[in-house]
């Protein structure tokens, strides 16, 4: 196996009777990478995750997590992988620290190490003040953070997060995403699933778009944007200077120039023309106030992809019913 790959799935398939929940998916997650499984509810994301953890049987295909086969060596996999399920639950009558103590005992940490790890983890997710409160009093965002604390406490090499941001307000989402970025900084690989495309777009290195149990698209957001949205770059410029639009239109690769406001121009090009545009503005002694290239949005990619392939859009809905 490749040393740099922590998860390798090949033709992974899961059938429930005749219904196919996950249909021959192949993907890899590299060390220290944040990989997003994105798609509508019931597209097979959670089933895929459960197969990676050995919590549900694999119907066909192969999967290797850190070199272990989750079906045959589930304990080795589960010792090294942290998992936060969709709407994670804790024992409400126990305190946050006690909940983690239970998990730590299940993992088998010795007492001194246990206490240190728990204190560190709770501190890192910002729950230090609530550590001795019963989880019953926690808000949803706090529970999600406690779920991340559990993964930190475990010292996992891979964090698998199922819908980590669902049901959270924007502030809590931002906090959670920053903790997830912290995982990456420590070299922990992250596999996260979500149906909220725009929220996770900012953290994922690569994404796989699920549809009807299959991976429809896979790659970095920029790559997907080029592939699906037609490879066009959109560069916005805010600058003054007479005749600027005409000069910019002469830059090789620029197909159209559009006036979007007073002193605002939008260039459509087949490559990133920011350097040339800047040169032109400066050459005209214009004052450059803004120059930026539009990042493709996952939402746009997703919508466009299924607009152009209505058949697959249908299977998405079909699949969601089966896998739900």
């Amino acid at each position: 196996m490749n040393e740099d790959m922590v998860i390798e799935a090949k033709d992974l398939t899961k059938n429930y009777g005749k219904a196919v929940a996950v249909d021959h998916i192949t993907f890899t997650v590299g060390r220290g990478e944040i990989f997003g499984l994105l798609g509508p509810n019931g597209a097979g994301k959670t089933t895929t995750i459960l197969m990676l953890l050995g919590l549900t049987e694999i119907s066909a295909g192969e999967v290797s997590v850190l070199g272990f086969n989750p079906a045959r060596e589930p304990l080795s996999v589960k010792r090294r992988v942290g998992y936060m399920p969709d709407t994670v639950g804790f024992y409400d009558q126990l305190t946050a620290a006690d909940n983690l103590r239970y998990t730590a005992r299940l993992i088998g940490f010795k007492k001194a190490e246990r206490e240190k790890r728990i204190a560190d983890a709770i501190d890192r997710v910002g729950l230090a003040e609530s550590a001795d409160n019963r989880v019953g009093t926690f808000s949803r965002g706090m529970r999600q953070r406690l779920g991340l604390a559990e993964i930190l406490m475990k010292g996992a090499q891979i964090a698998i997060l199922d819908e980590p941001t669902s049901g959270l307000d924007p502030h809590a989402t931002a906090e959670l995403l920053s903790i997830i970025r912290g995982f990456k900084a420590e070299g922990v690989s992250v596999l996260l699933s979500s149906h909220l495309l725009d929220r996770v777009q900012s953290v994922c290195d690569r994404v796989a778009l699920f549809s009807g149990g299959r991976i429809a698209l896979m790659g970095s957001v920029a790559e997907l944007g080029r592939e699906v949205l037609g490879g066009g770059y959109v560069v916005d410029i805010e600058a003054d200077g007479a005749g600027l639009a005409e000069r910019l239109a002469l830059i090789p690769g620029v197909s159209a120039v559009e006036r979007t406001g007073i002193g605002k121009l939008r260039l459509h090009a087949d490559r990133d023309v920011r350097p040339e545009a800047a040169v032109e503005v400066v050459a005209m002694q214009g004052r450059l106030k803004y120059l930026g290239v539009q990042e493709p949005s996952l939402d746009a990619i997703y919508t466009r992809y299924f607009e152009t392939r209505p058949d697959e859009g249908m299977t998405t809905r079909e699949g969601s019913r089966h896998a739900a």
Partner: protein, 320 residues
Amino acid sequence: MRREGSAFQGLGVVMLKELSDHLTSVRMRVLEWLVVLVALAALYGAIQQIKETTAEDPFLFLRLFTTSREPLPSFVAFISFLVPIMAIGLGFDAVNSEYNRRTLSRILAQPIYRDALLFGKFLAGLVTLAISLISLWLLVVGLGLLLIGIPPGAEEIGRSFLFLLVTIIYSGVWLALAILFSIIFRSAATAALVALGLWLFITFIWPVLAGAVAQIVAPPDPRYIALGLQTPATAMAEQILARLSPSTLFAETVVALLDPTTRSLGPIYLSQMQGAVLGAPLPIGESILIAWPQTVGMVASAILLFVVGYVIFQRQEVRA
């Protein structure tokens, strides 16, 4: 294909956590008080009754458990009534509560097998029941000593201790049943209702029904009816059917253990009674032999119910 590692990894951790949950729960507090109060009432009745009898009885101490005074039933009757309720009360939400709190997938993502979780929960319930029953037993023995004033003999202590063991086994049967329902039904309320319903059926309706079914399976012989006797085949059928219920098994075991004069738990032929001194007590070893099949039957049904639950639990999907 062999699984990696031990199926019991984490068993002790799960058991201790569940045990502490049980012992600190309000539910347990209520059940304990119920048992203690009811036991005291039964004991009081028994002691009043014993004080009134002047006849010499070599097993006076055991009478504490079996004597009743109207309108209260005996201690044993109370126990056989309350133990299933306690066990169901402890087990009916064992597994489905983990689903409903959404803790199951998080716990199973730790390096343990499902075996440890289920077995840990069963053991914790059994230990909780054993603790309550042992304290209850000590309470009864102590109060009996104080109130009757006659120290029990070694055999009496031995017999009442065996009664305690059998009661714990009996509670295990109901605990396994309750946990089975907690696996089958996602809703804890449904599981509790079905378990209680089955308990009512098995304990109160089945003994009556067994008689009726036996009449159909083995119709009584008119010649026996003419003599005013029960047809042996019908009696046997009725007993076999009745013994399908763990309540019957428990009642028979208790009779054999606490009443040393019990010589048989079923119909016997006159030829088998030849040379027997009627009313003479049997040694404890003989009583154990009489109660042995019933005890084994209870252990077997507890294991069977647990295994059925285990198999279903292994095949269940983790996600809620």
